[in-house]
Amino acid sequence: MSQLLEKLTMPAPAKLRDLIRQIRSVRTQAEERAVIEKECANIRGMFRDEDNTYRCRNVAKLLYIHMLGYPAHFGQLECLKLIASPRFTDKRIGYLGAALLLDERQDVHLLVTNSLKNDLNHNTQFVVGLALGTLGNICSVEMSRDLAGEVEKLLKSSNAYIKKKAALCAVRIIRKVPELMEMFLPATKNLLNEKNHGVLLTAVCLITEMCDKSPDALAHFRKQNKMVPQLVRILKNLIMAGYSPEHDVSGVSDPFLQVRILRLLRLLGKNDSEASEAMNDILAQVATNTETTKNVGNSILYETVLTIMDIKSESGLRVLAVNILGRFLLNNDKNIRYVALNSLLKTVQTDLNAVQRHRSTIVDCLKDPDISIRKRAMELSFALVNSNNVRGMMKELIFFLEKADAIFKVDCTSNICIAADKYAPNKRWHIDTMLKVLSTAGSYVRDDVIAHMISLVSEASTLQAYTVQQLFRAIQEDITQQPLVQVSSWCVGEYGDLLMSGQVEEEEPLQVTEDEVLDTLEKVLNSSGSTAVTKSFTLTAVMKLSTRFTQTIPRIQALMDQFGSSVDMELQQRSVEFAKLFKSYDHMRSGLLERMPPLDAKVGSKGDGEEANTNGETTAVSPPASPAVKQEEGNALLDLLGGGPSPAPVIPQMEKPAAPPAASNDLLGDLLGLDLSSPAAGPAPMVPGMTAPQPQMDMLGGLMDGVAAQPAVQMSANNLGIPSLTAYEKNGLKISFSFQRDNSNANVVIITLTATNSTDAPMNEFVFQAAVPKTFQLQLQSPSGSVVPPSNMGVVTQVIKILNPQKAPIRMRIKLTYNYKGTDVNDMGEVNSFPAALWQ
């Protein structure tokens, strides 16, 4: 049918409506493409023939095709021809096409500027409106300079329809060319006296933009223009004015304008007590008088709360604001609950006590069906934990942890551990909490948690019997959770004798035999679910038990022999060494396998840079908000990195439980009179993730076989022969990286960035940002300056540190912003060509 129709209409091109019908009737993507390609060919043909009659229709079709994702840029010039036509109909579709098809980099802009200039002076308001609308969408730097005068003139027009559009055009122009702000400043004065709400709305928008961009303008509006009282008056009128059908949105008078004004007040009141003082009353009025049964009312309230929080408001007002947010939390609408949690999170630093009052409501939100809300509630809950409520909060959070989505678990466990560490009322509670985390969070705990737990147990000498029995019970039931098994193995190895002793308060003592203990450990060793790291932990534990158990030594010896032929090199080496200990150095065995002295994680972190980065102490000492803040950073980085590798440390076992070896190294080091600090890091690169008991063993091996010097030699090669690299080179800006390995920590790469500028103008406000996948940690130190001088006359340098515990190939995404000859330049890039020597 449609084909028939098409045939009949042959001379005239198909109408837009028919094209749409035709496209809708096709069944496959390929057919659609065929239809569109045919149509595009027709349209091109007609464009070539300079057909004036159907140009308008063809451009309309082209816009539809464009929406479907097919290239339509060949219509750009036709749009310009339409704009130049005297007919409104042509202009209208032409401007629409221009707004959709042109972008500010096109050369055609020069052509359009002239038409715009004519139309801005047209005597039909709608033509002027079209021109302003298009200018507001596609205005470039050059156009801003060329047309700012026209826009400024129109801003003073008496026609509200034109005035409001001119105001938004001015916003766009200021964004493009900030120095043109001066031109528009005088005109703003009268805009706020306008009655028309559209003009008021856009005027407030313009003033906000000015205040945002320039501190001078902000000061100007505060002091000379008496902006605050004026805004307060408008706001008051809005609230007090009765029902006006024109501006009423579900019973509230122009909520959009109210929201905009509140935003501007926030800018004006920030860090200015005089301005804040002047708006206190009206804010209180809005906060108490706004009807909250509808979404619109709540959006005004929400904005009011944010303003109260941001300005120097009275304390009573702040409490009122937090209480509004508290009420929001109880709202049925999940959107409102979401914004409430979001803003509470922002204010929790400053108004902790006020937020604290809504704790139970916040905790309830942990059970919300909406994942976005649960996430916010979790962050907020952690921010609220203190020594008074830690028991209750932890109970809730551990309950949450059991049911939490996988993506929450890693952060949740780490935060629980940090909070428990900070606020634990006693050691017993602390250990119990950690036990619960380990047994509920499965394999989601980070490695720092393992190291932390181990040092915790080793310090609490009176609780070791209790802990080891609890842990052993836990792995008797479940050996699939690697972190739990690792901690348990370590404790069983160290305190295996206490397992049998039966001296535990309160709890029923555990009744086990030596064989049962070895059965469980053997199960771990033979389980295919155990990772190599876990097996190493367990193997060492079994070995340690050889001096704590009395009846099962032959069995232990047999086990060692069995693993002497393990395919895993690490396990094989270990068991062979252990077996050797039995055979040739039996007299030294009990001495070597003695119980570890209490591990003081804090001392460890001071003594050796490596621990500082891995054992979790660094996070523990940061301020209470750090979990949330770190979260954000992590997210931002991940965002920048885009489709990077799967999020979060998926294989936490690969990181190093660093605390134990450090302490033992020091000990052995002292004992042997050697400086072990460098060998400690030395073997790490060879066997990633396997440091725990290894340095010890290397030393032992060295004692026995005389190869002690080997690991130490490796270290000296650290900084040699890593070539530098050009990370970015475009538009005269060159950024090169030179590399260094950190002497104290083999996992840290130090990159020195050098930026040079070969153009003839300086690059101002130069900011370099970088992001790495989550398996790395990145630290950007402050740059040497923000201006890259022209003609390679100077450089900006910046030091980047990357912690790469997994020794993965480094990838980095970089983002650059700078201002070149008054234009903001943004660029991104990816650096994947890091020399492998950095992580091998």
Binding site: L8, R92, K165, G198, T202, F256, I336, I371, D639
Partner: protein, 212 residues
């Protein structure tokens, strides 16, 4: 600032695409696809905000990155067969944008008299014109629905009057040429408005949900 406004149906077919920041066609389509992917799998009973970053969606996604990173939010509403999606930066109020979407939809409803997906399909240009009176350069221009609808009507009238002026000779000419199909090739939108057959309206939007 509003960075993009996208309308697509339940199958992800775009019905309106408006970016306030330039992207090439491929990128635009990719953004629409990924936004659809994110939005369509969300329950009706979860909140209408999606933040940049992996949390909201449960996984890392590129679409927010495409539109600029974690400072950006996707705010959407779902009406019957259509999703109205606004991508905004942190300078916009989340709840305010929800209201704005409602205003946009109600304005469409007024302008089309019971708007349905087909109206949007066959009158994309008119939808764009309405949007132009509502949002300009990523900023809210006017929220008074009566004002917007009046202005749109006035402009249509202007188009029609032009069509009337030039129609006579053209019609004669093209009627000869075109025979049956006859309709003079002129003002696309004006003509279209006159004789659009009301197609089966089972996809009509139900009464707009009002806010609690």
């Amino acid at each position: 600032m509003i960075k993009a406004i996208v309308v697509f149906n339940n199958h992800g077919k775009p019905r309106l695409i408006k970016f306030f920041q330039h992207y090439n066609e491929d990128m635009q389509q990719q953004i629409v696809r990924e936004t659809f992917h994110l939005v369509s799998k969300r329950d009706e009973n979860v909140c209408n905000f999606l933040e940049g970053g992996r949390w909201a969606s449960g996984k890392s996604s590129d679409s927010e990155n495409l539109i600029g990173g974690s400072d950006y939010k996707i705010i959407y509403r779902h009406y019957a067969t259509l999703y109205f999606v606004f991508c905004v930066d942190s300078s916009e109020s989340e709840l305010g944008i929800l209201d704005l979407i409602q205003v946009f939809v109600e304005t469409l409803d007024k302008a089309f008299e019971n708007v349905c997906e087909l109206d949007l399909i066959f009158h994309v240009d008119k939808v764009h014109y309405i949007l132009q009176e509502l949002v300009m350069g990523g900023m809210v221009l006017e929220t008074n629905m009566t004002e917007i609808v009046t202005r749109i009507e006035e402009q249509s009238k202007l188009e029609k009057s032009e069509a009337g002026l030039t129609a006579v000779p053209e019609r004669a000419a093209s009627a000869v040429k075109a025979g049956l199909a006859g309709a003079p090739a002129r003002v696309v939108s004006a003509a279209k408005n006159l004789d659009l057959p009301k197609l089966p309206s089972n996809i009509q939007l139900p009464n707009l949900p009002s806010f609690r």
